[in-house]
Amino acid sequence: MVAIADCVGFYAAWHQSTEPWLQGVPVVSLSNNDGCMIALSPEAKALGASRTEPWHFVMDKYVPLGMVAYSSNYREYQAMNKRLMKILARFVPRLETYSIDECWMDMSGVQNLSTLVPFIINETKKLTGIQIRIGVAPTKTLAKVAIHLAKQDPTNSFIINNQSEIDTALQRVAVEDMWNVGRQYANMLHRNGIHTAARLAITPEWWVRKKMTVVGWRTQQELRGNVCLKLVEVMDPKKNIGVGRSFKKTTSDAQQLIDASTFYGYRLAEKLREEKLVATVLQVSLRTNKWKVDTAQHQPRRIFHLDTGINNMIDVTRYARHAIKSIIDENLRNKVSYKYMKIEVFASGLLPENENQIVINDSYAAGSKNRLSRVIDDINLQMGKGKVCFANNLKAWKHDNLEAYIMRQQYPSPKYFTDWNESPLLR
């Protein structure tokens, strides 16, 4: 047996768990730059709101109804996610983190599922204040079916135990609500008269294989209770890491672009070192606002392939700065000017730090640069971010300047559990 657990509107639920007055209030969490609603509390869903609605179009409709919106607070969400996963891992022998608010749990050998599952849900709610849902079934695909049915269940859980329960559960699920069935396949199935998961399970295998490739066949096997997808405990190391944001206002100012490039180069190096990885390919890109069709569009890009992987701030910052300078120079030479909206510094070809290639006869002084970076990390960890930085970053760190190219967050929430100075105040 395998279980999947997910959080009910995770980001919104985080806000509700930290601010008790928000419980029972419709809450939404907004995407970067406060664009769309990306997570909704059940109360917000009850008002008819849906994900991906642009917030500034619908705010006049929902705010009078009592809806409260927050800019996304990813650091806190991530911290809460870590807690949740550790709590869930207490109850089961093996666990696979699947996304920021979902995980698979190994339930094989558990005798008393019907008491354990509600216990897990209650305990998690007690320790974190966040409501989770659990679906249990013999295979991953069936567990996804179960958790879909748990949405309509007041216990927030659904268990599929035996063949007859599989049959009745599959009757209740439409093909488009199934895991690993995309919209195109769902349309194709509907055209062929296959509307429910139950009907898909009894479709001839050769037909499924022909029309939906091996992925569809696997889904069908799993619907019949044959395990094809196993639990993956160790995730692949990250394939690439990027940092970058939209500017508050589009800009063509050379100094501001260079400042931003050093700032994000620095951030990228920090992230790389946190993950203990080095980058062998760096890519720096700028983008104009592609939605503004009446302005000139430009997506310049500079890519560096490096012999030796790097993750020290000095080099990453230098490459980022060099790239932006060369873009600006090219624009000057061509006598053009663009209003850029977004900068991105992107690392790929990532290797673990300790597998980094050393080039023979190399004059590259990585040792001292790495040591310097590590010392800066240590100081900043103890004294707060940005206490020590490079002079060309200085302007960016100063708050009023930071404003210019940090994302718009009109509805901030405190970093309750990741910053000592923003802890909740009790009276």
Partner: protein, 138 residues
């Protein structure tokens, strides 16, 4: 003289190994002392003087544990009457009373909905703030 920035662990050890090495145990760590359950413990901060007489000065850093069931006499973090309160907890039958430690703060008879959040387990006050720049002054 040139100073180098080297992690002591990077030095190569020569000579005899320390005879005390066999007895090595992990160093003392504050979180072992102060945190019962790391996933259930959260930070908070004291505002106001309501609990001063119980040893919680204004500006103290607090830890609360969501996993502990409150007993009479515990100091709890509750949500009541639109406020985040920290008070002594007393429950007799169905009747819950919240007491402040400092005289002059009225005790609260709970009449409407009370949201219990956690039991406050530790209060810490920095006694030498000039050396701890992370501690925000009150």
């Amino acid at each position: 003289m040139r100073r180098t920035l080297v992690d002591p662990k990077e030095f190569i050890q020569s000579g005899f190994t320390s005879p005390a090495e066999e007895y090595a145990v992990p160093d003392l760590r504050l979180d072992h002392l102060m945190i019962r359950d790391p996933e259930a413990t959260y930070p908070a901060r004291m505002q106001g003087k309501a609990m001063e007489k119980a040893g919680i000065a204004e500006g103290s850093y607090l830890l609360f544990d969501r996993g502990i069931d409150p007993k009479n006499g515990d100091i709890v973090y509750v949500w009541y009457d639109n406020e985040k309160l920290i008070r002594f907890y007393e429950k007799h039958g169905q009747k819950i009373t919240l007491y402040a430690a400092t005289p002059g703060y009225p005790s609260i008879q709970v009449e409407s909905e009370l949201k219990f959040i956690g039991v406050v387990t530790w209060a810490n006050k920095c006694l030498c703030p000039r050396m701890f720049p992370l501690v925000k002054q009150w």
